[in-house]
Amino acid sequence: MTDVLVVDDSDDIRVLTRRMLERRGHSVRAAADAEEALDMLLAAPPQVMLLDLQLPGRSGSDLLDELRERGLLDDVRVVLFSAQVNPKALGRGGLAAADGYLSKPFTQEQLIASVEDGSREKRS
């Protein structure tokens, strides 16, 4: 079981990822923006954070920068997921700061692999 935090502004994507991951036995929390994500992270850091960089208001990259500065990412594996085709367009602070990348649309298998590969890595 992996504790996953999903950060995406699309209600449907949050519901979808929650459903896909929960039926694999993972525990999922979901945030719609950077502030909500920060609150949840401070309350209890997840093992994996699935983060859409294109968030309304404060961007995902901004959030990553702050989390890194505050040392909150040390035990969190970050997987970016984005509708951006080109990971370079995510900026240097984007991909470089992440442990994985999942482009939309993704399949259930790809989503699960991105979460479980990460949790295995962290354990090893």
Binding site: S10, D12, L16, Q84, V85, N86, P105, T107, Q108
Partner: protein
Amino acid sequence: MRTVSGDPREGLVPVADLTAVIESSSDAILRQDATGAVVVWNRAAQRLLGRPAEAMRGTTLSAALAGPAAAIWAEALEHVRAGARREGLRLDIRQRGGLVVPASVTVSPAHAPDGRTDGAWVVARDLSEQVLAQRTLAESEQRVHQSELLAGTGSFVVDRDAGAMQWSAGMYAIARLDPLDVEPSVDAYLDLVHPDDRAGVAAAFATALAGDAPPDRDHRLVRADGSPGWVFLALAPSRGPAGVRGVTGVCQDVTERKAVEAAKEDFLSTVSHELRTPLTAVLGFASLLHADAPDLDEFVDPIVRNARHMHEMVERLLDYSRLEAGRVTVEPREIEFGPVLDASLERMGAALEGRKLDVAVEPGLLVRADPDALERILVNLVGNALKYGPPEAAVAVQARRGGGAATVSVADRGPGIAAEHHTAVFERYFRVPGRAVATGTGVGLAIVRQYVELHGGHAWVESIPGDGATFFFTLPDGPADGEHP
């Protein structure tokens, strides 16, 4: 003029011959007496003055001149009376019918048998054709200039031996340069090229000077006023009897087109990104529905199939726009090949239905690639193989490692491609001649080549016409990627 004698042995021209020469001359020749009245003339003189023979005798040249010509003529005759000669007078002659003919006139003193000056010999050449030719040339140059300004084009020639360059007026307009401010040369041109594009443009000039035609190109420009722009540049070697003489080139200002292209690319890019999120939801929930309610597959399958088709169209749209804008980028990292191939085949969905695929991939094969780019490469190559191969024949996909690179091949049993097209098939919009017009954007293999080359690899095709085609590409092992530990 030598005195005319009847004896050819003295080396002088017989009078009869001289008369024939005068008569047949295309220049008007006439003799006028001291009063200016015409007393002797040839046929060309009749033509020039527009008078029949019976109206020639006694007429005067002065009467056929108007405006400044009359004054010039009067002054010339003063000189002749003083024994001098006047050459190349540019006079407009008004013919009897009113037509004005430009002429070049030479007038010399004529002498009476006793040696005193008695009138003048006049030789006049009709300049109508010459003037017309000059005017036509000037008008033609003016038209070229106007066309260049309207089309935003310019042209130039480089003389290799002289090291000199000539620019048309359009070139100065494109560069926003005053012709007085620059000495045209290849270096002066390169100075206008954006520093990042300069090496490529310099290489193109070198290629053309060496006698080969370099590929046409768009390059950035920094105009004389500092403003940025884009030009299309086409160069070709020009040849003389002794080989390459220099370079001929054409430029076109494509700044506006580039701005439109960039806007189009941004638009296509935004639209396709915006489409990806809803597609994720549609495909994702459909897959959950498939898992939870298999009895609904009759309805779920078409949803999935169509959503995948839409996804493929979105990707094609992006391929097209990225290629057009020359903005294809990759972020290679070490990944396993198998899953990317599986994802590519899954994406192709309906196109694979009823088709055979022989896959031979080295188990656990790792490649250094951008997974999205690799997927585009595979989708395009397998899609091509399916399109051109007969439905009953299998498409073979192989991947193996060796020599510091992974080599991937996709083979079909289609009509094959003649050797002369093996390079061109990787150019955008290229179609093998003689085939029915294929569906698609015509950019698939161009995208493949660009993606492969961005990975430091090489793409090529091997084919025997009539016996199928095999497309290959390599993905070289790179240094360990420090960005993704």
